[in-house]
């Protein structure tokens, strides 16, 4: 935290200047310096047990008029130990203050203000970016994984720049976004995907446009006390990111960071070779009573035996270069940074590139007025490839492609769809599907803001901010006639398929905040803020599709023979808010806080335009009580509790209006058809949150414990109430459902050894119990992929979100080799009515364990991350282990465990061509996806003093870092940490040929001068 901000906040403790009339007064003066001899401005100086006081000037000097009989003068300043100095009739008192090494005095950014950690009575977790700086992290959301209790982070796949699911204290919404609110330097930034196209379920990620190495601090607001200041946007948690800023009075420093490494997949799926597959297919035919030769299956041969996964994957390279500088005078400080990152995907033709630039400048114009700006620019290019639920994807097709075909013909040309010599539909050459199409997504991000801060009267500050988050996305796509869409589909014309689409979204924000803090003696401290905020959001998009290109050399729509599906669109939305906060502290012992926000949103119905979100919290610092004063080993013991309301405003735009919209023209005549049934009462989803927690520190801060229990009830969930089609509509939206999240969080931070060898550990573990309490009707809803028993996922009262639904698999009948399923309704038949609950994606607990070591110049860190009790649908196995339902796809090696002859005790039913019964979706495809993963191991060495100064450097560190290097799991799919339907709340825990996480080994260099 820079000094500028420190001095600002010391003013919170500035006493009101109430000079009592006294007969005899004397003057004292002096200078306050720190242990390095640097002056300390802003120190709070007062006479004990009175309200007489002042603060030190910029040069550390002070002057104070005091009653003649005064005994003791107190010097206090955040981050330093308070000094109680007897006056002893001196008129000059110079003081050297020493820093308080206890971490308790850290400043925590709490949204529109910041607060000393000791005074925080909400549940706020801080993440020091130092712990992630050596990891090859693309975006800031990735940084949260395994580091913070109560925050669960899942990367949806191992694709660079891909989607990441972040949940703070569970899923509170069923149909609306569950993503937390991300605030970067006071600006709510765009999250979710950049691209308008989901590739078989996978999205890209808007947060990948922000370079995590420019971040100074990350705070996660978790309970109502902390979040309510963000009102209707706070229910899913708030992540507050502060980028690096200049330091007053510090010499200008330069930093060079270089990272370069290699990437491999963490795992591959073992599939059959040509011989094994052909034998299996012939067996399936014979079991079905058909002649394999008549069915066109080649004889068993390994003349061609293609390892498709190897054909589409490569060893990829990641590299990042960054140059930054920070420094400043007492008046002006700056931080400037430029970085370039290039990360290849392990799949052919897949890569992510990013250039970023940050400029943060602060200036103190007068003793009262300061202002500054922050600018964060980024440009990214993401070459995507199709995957997951796309027949014409790459990794999925590599898994299922028949090994007795090959990607290239005898002349070395790629087989194109429909070519003789290559398997027909649904098979497409995965190598061609990787190399031939162009799926480029370009994003440009401008995140910027200006602020001014003015001290109106002592301790009363006015701050105004004008901020902007602008993101533009261009998608430039072409699928040539040698690819599936561009070359195979007759309806597309088989002469290429091109899309060009642009999306532009901007958020303009103005907020105006008054803050005031005062103390009455050293007994009462009162602080507070009052503010307004105006947010205007605009999203504009356009898209054009072209077909019938003259040849594959012409890949832009200018050359297309037929333009179709042109569209353009605009959405405006806005938020007007009023908010306030009051903090009260009695003798540093008893703390209380009241927060409230009043939000009006364009998304809410006419009859429910404004919502009110209050929160209350109390804290008790037990260690300040007299009865604990004798216990020297206990540094801090705080108990806190909070209660409040937050909302989720992301319910979509214009959902409350009854509307008609344009539909596709018919016979050349434009058409307008009914779009939605209106509901003027439509409003935010509301979460009532309760939290009880404690912060304990022992042995001079060497052991720190944070524990929280919470219970959150979210009601008024936005749900479609299904209507019979006879109304003309499928559904109407209403605020109908209820979900609860209850959980505990525990974090233990220890300094195990603090000698020449330093060893610190951080362990965090969380449990969240999510239960759907109520839906629109008693009938469950279904989600995910369609199956025999309806769908893979069910949304059912009494169950958590992400619950699986299907037949219960009881094994293989040793006599017939057929699957046995549980006949739930005991009617002797196997029907869709026999569907039952067969697992869920919610972990019993999850967390992380980090150990860091340093010895002389060496440092090392070992970071484990785990999730226990979560299950996964290995949905790819409905194709890769399909018991012969079709013979269009290769099979997993697990197929070798199939039933073959009477008496076999097998786990996989017999292979019989065309038999759908044995392959019905059942618990056979549900697996335990618990895992323990060595997420990162870093070893570094820093040069020490003498050599450094000879080299005129102040820092030189080299390191090696490995990510995802070891995983312990029983899951048989490629990776237990994936989600095929990125971003889905109701259909979590689904693996449909999802690309696994990647293992990165990189070498890095930090150079400071």
């Amino acid at each position: 935290m820079n000094k500028n901000l420190l001095s600002l906040f010391s003013c919170l403790f500035f006493m009101s200047v109430l000079v009592q009339a006294q007969d005899n007064e004397v003057q004292i003066s002096g200078k306050i310096i720190d242990s390095d001899g640097a002056p300390i401005p802003g120190v709070n100086i007062y006479i004990q047990n009175t309200s007489t006081g002042t603060i030190s000037e910029f040069d550390g000097n002070y002057n104070l008029t005091i009653p003649e009989n005064s005994q003791i003068v107190v010097f206090s300043y955040i981050g330093f130990l308070t000094i109680e100095e007897p006056i002893n009739n001196r008129s000059v008192i110079n003081i050297t203050m020493t820093e308080d090494t206890k971490q308790l005095e850290e400043l925590i950014v709490t949204g529109y203000s910041s607060q000393s950690k000791a005074d925080v009575i909400g549940s706020i977790s801080s993440l020091d970016p130092a712990v992630i700086k050596d990891m090859p992290i693309t975006g800031l959301d990735q940084a949260l994984q395994g580091q913070v209790s109560g925050v669960s982070v899942t990367q949806s796949s191992g694709t660079p720049g891909g989607g990441i699911m972040v949940r703070v204290r569970g899923n509170s919404s069923i149909s609306s976004s569950n993503r937390p609110l991300y605030i970067v330097d006071g600006i709510p930034v765009r999250d979710g995907g950049l691209s308008t196209r989901s590739f078989g379920g996978q999205n890209d990620n808007a947060l990948s446009t922000i370079n995590p190495n420019d971040i100074e601090s990350i705070e996660i607001l978790k309970d109502a006390s902390a979040k309510a200041i963000y009102g209707s946007r706070a229910a899913n948690g708030v992540v507050i990111i502060t980028t690096k800023r200049g330091k007053a009075g510090a010499p200008t420093t330069f930093n060079i960071d270089v990272q370069r490494g290699i990437i491999d997949p963490t795992n591959t799926i073992e599939v059959l070779n040509a011989k094994e597959l052909l034998a299996l297919q012939r067996e399936a035919m014979i079991n079905a009573g058909e002649d394999p030769d008549g069915a066109g299956i080649p004889g068993v041969t390994d003349a061609v035996d293609t390892k498709w996964q190897e054909e589409v994957m490569r060893q990829a390279i990641v590299q990042q270069y960054q140059l930054s500088t920070r420094g400043g005078s007492e008046k002006t400080q700056f931080y400037l940074s430029g970085a370039y990152r290039e990360e290849e995907g392990v799949m052919l033709n897949n890569d992510f590139k990013r250039a970023t630039l940050v400029a943060n400048i602060d200036h103190k114009a007068t003793s009262r007025l300061s202002f500054g700006l922050n600018v964060n620019l980024a440009r990214t290019k993401n070459n995507r490839v199709k995957g997951d639920n796309f027949l014409d994807g790459v990794y999925n097709a590599a898994l299922t492609s028949l090994p007795y075909y090959q990607p290239y013909d005898e002349e070395g040309n790629l087989f194109a769809p429909g070519d003789a010599g290559y398997a027909g539909f649904p098979n497409f050459n995965p190598v061609g599907q990787a190399i031939e199409p162009r799926f480029d997504t370009y994003a440009t991000k401008m995140l910027g803001g200006l602020y001014a801060k003015y001290e109106i009267i002592p301790n009363l500050y006015f701050t105004t901010k004008f901020n902007m988050d602008y993101t533009s996305t261009i998608e430039d796509q072409f699928e040539p006639s040698t690819s599936a869409i561009g070359g195979f589909l007759q309806s597309v014309g088989q002469q290429g398929y091109g899309i060009y689409s642009t999306t532009e979204s901007s958020t303009l924000l103005n907020n105006n905040v008054l803050t005031y803090n005062t103390s009455i003696g050293d007994v009462h401290s009162i602080g507070g803020l009052l503010g307004t905020e105006f947010i205007s959001r605009t999203s504009r998009s356009g898209s054009t599709v072209g077909i019938l290109f003259p040849s594959d050399d012409f890949t832009y729509l200018t050359s297309s023979g037929l333009i179709l599906d042109g569209s353009s669109f605009l959405i405006n939305s806005g938020l007007i808010s009023f908010f306030g906060e009051v903090n009260y502290k009695y003798k540093s012992k008893y703390l209380a806080k009241v927060t409230a926000r009043y939000d009006g949103s364009s998304r809410f119905g006419e009859d429910r335009k404004f919502g009110f979100f209050p929160a209350f919290s109390l804290g008790w610092r037990v260690t300040e009580e007299d009865f604990l004063q004798g216990i020297s080993w206990l540094d801090d013991f705080k108990i806190r509790a909070s209660y409040g309301l937050t909302g989720n405003e992301r319910i979509g735009n214009f959902q409350y209006l009854a509307t008609w919209g344009a539909t596709t023209a018919y016979n050349g005549i434009p058409a307008v058809g009914p779009a939605t049934l209106g509901n003027p009462n439509l409003g935010w989803e509301q979460t009532t949150e309760m939290d009880i927690g404690t912060d304990i520190a022992f042995y001079a801060g060497r052991i720190q414990v944070v524990f929280d229990y919470y219970y959150n009830v979210t009601n008024d969930l936005l749900l479609s109430e299904a209507l019979p089609f006879t109304t003309g509509f499928g559904s109407v939206l209403g605020n109908l459902g209820e979900v609860t999240n209850e959980g505990v969080e525990f974090t233990l931070t220890t300094v195990n050894i603090d000698k020449e060898l330093n060893w610190t550990s951080q362990f965090n573990i969380s449990r969240n119990k999510n239960i759907i309490q109520q839906l629109a009707t008693d009938e469950p809803q279904f989600s995910g992929y369609s199956t025999f028993t309806n769908n893979t996922h069910i949304v059912s009262p009494g169950k958590p979100l992400g619950t699986f639904w299907g037949l219960k698999y009881l094994g293989v009948d040793p006599g017939t080799g057929d699957a046995i399923y549980y006949d739930k309704n005991n009617d002797g038949k196997l029907t869709a009515d026999d569907g039952t609950f067969i697992g869920d994606a919610q972990p019993d607990f999850f967390g992380g364990f980090t150990n860091t070591f340093s010895y002389k110049g060496f440092d090392a860190s070992l970071f484990f991350q785990f999730s226990y009790g979560n299950e996964m649908i290995n949905f790819g196995n409905t194709t890769l282990l399909n018991s012969g339902e079709d013979i269009e796809n290769n099979q997993s090696r697990e197929a070798l465990k199939r039933w073959q002859k009477e008496g076999d005790i097998a786990s996989i039913p017999k292979y019989e061509f065309g038999n759908t019964f044995n392959n019905r979706f059942s618990s056979r495809f549900v697996e335990d996806a618990s895992y323990l993963r060595l997420k990162n191991l870093t070893i570094g060495y820093s040069l020490n003093g003498e050599i450094l100064s000879k080299l005129r450097l102040n820092k030189l560190r080299i390191y090696a870092s490995g990510t995802n290097i070891w995983t312990l799991t029983n899951y048989t799919g490629a990776d237990p940490e994936v989600n095929s339907l990125d971003g889905s709340t109701t259909a979590q825990g689904l693996d449909l040929y999802t690309f696994p996480q990647v293992r990165t080994i990189l070498f890095g260099l930090n150079l400071g001068f």
Binding site: A295, P426, F462, F534, G574, S602, G661, T777, G914
Partner: protein, 449 residues
Amino acid sequence: MKYRFTISFLTLVLSFSSCTDLLNPEPVNLITNDQVLKDANSARVVLTSAYRDLASLGAPKIIAGDLTADNLIHNGTFTQYREISSKDMSASNGSASALWGVIYSMSYIVSFLNEGLPAIDIPQGDFDQITGEASFLRAYAYFVGAYTFGGLPIVTTTDVDENKKIPRATLEETLDFIESDLLYALDKIPEESFNSGLATNGAVKALMARYYLYRENWTEAEKYATEVIDGNGVKEYILEEDYEDVVSDFSTESILEIVYSANDNPGTSTNFSINNLFVGRREIIPSSEMVLALQNDGGSRNIVIEFDGINARGADNGWTIVRYGPFDNIQLFRLAEMYIIRAEARAQQNNISGSNSSESDINIIRQRAGVPLIQGTSKNQMLAAIENERRMEFCFEGHRWYDLIRTGRAKTVMDEFTSNWTEKDELWPIPLREIINNTSLKDAQNPGY
């Protein structure tokens, strides 16, 4: 001076607060209910969205008519088609709810027009034309629905509260409702209208001919079929000479067809076009029996299928339906059907052979198809010939299942085709979601589902 900032702060707040625009932005591409109907033009635009629903009815009706019977089999990955093909339909079948949904989505628009049009200032001619076409479209949708699902809930208002608990009418009531819509349309749509992309007087009569045929009212069926064939003084529809031209868009014998354009069928959307199902994905292919029948037919009508050996593996016979090109229209009524309807009506009235008989009508179609002419000898022989003629002439146009059911021949024919056929397959199930969400339908499911 100290308060200068406070004042400017307050000014700022006030100036922003006046910006209520922030909380009430205008939607684009959307208008609210009260803005929809203003004049004849806006009414036409609303009616066009009912044609959009007609367009959505095209593919499901072909699936129902051919895949439920013995003309088509499933060869792909989608459960909904597999179920229909294996005569194992569940109430949650996607094709059933798609077809059902379109009927009522169209019904809502027709009710909206019927409720809204009297309140606006619109010329009588436009009023008649629009409400006439709307009634025809609703009649067609209910006709398809009645013979697919049985008696339907009859929706005539836009009242959501009423329509969400509306009960099923009997089949008889549903058919009477269709008849009243048809009579209204016949009265309102002027005779001189020829656009085969829109509901015309000829289209109304063609549906009436089919309607009375299904209801076994032979004299009315013959009457309306004849009116369409003879035209109103001038012949509006002329038989193509070549079957190849019949299957192309806007043939001279086309009475009504659903018009598709490239915009309807981008091929990558989830709403698969019939071409994508038949050709792109080969999700559905002709049954081997159908292939044989078309080959044995001997004339030109087998041009609707093609063989490619590369596809012939396992259960796949290698044949593909090429009846519908990428953006081809779907013919709902064409003149040939009027001849065959009349042939059937005449046979039922024992007008078997000679001029202006069942035999002469059938032979007009057979001659065009290039297949041997037949001689009418008996009513039963003629009806059997007509059944076969309809299968050949209208293959993949969505007639077969409906024909087999209405003539009571389904069990005999289908038992031969598959052992899975049961009596329940004579109707599709009412979609499960309707049963769940409409309390009046709780016990109204079709038998066997």
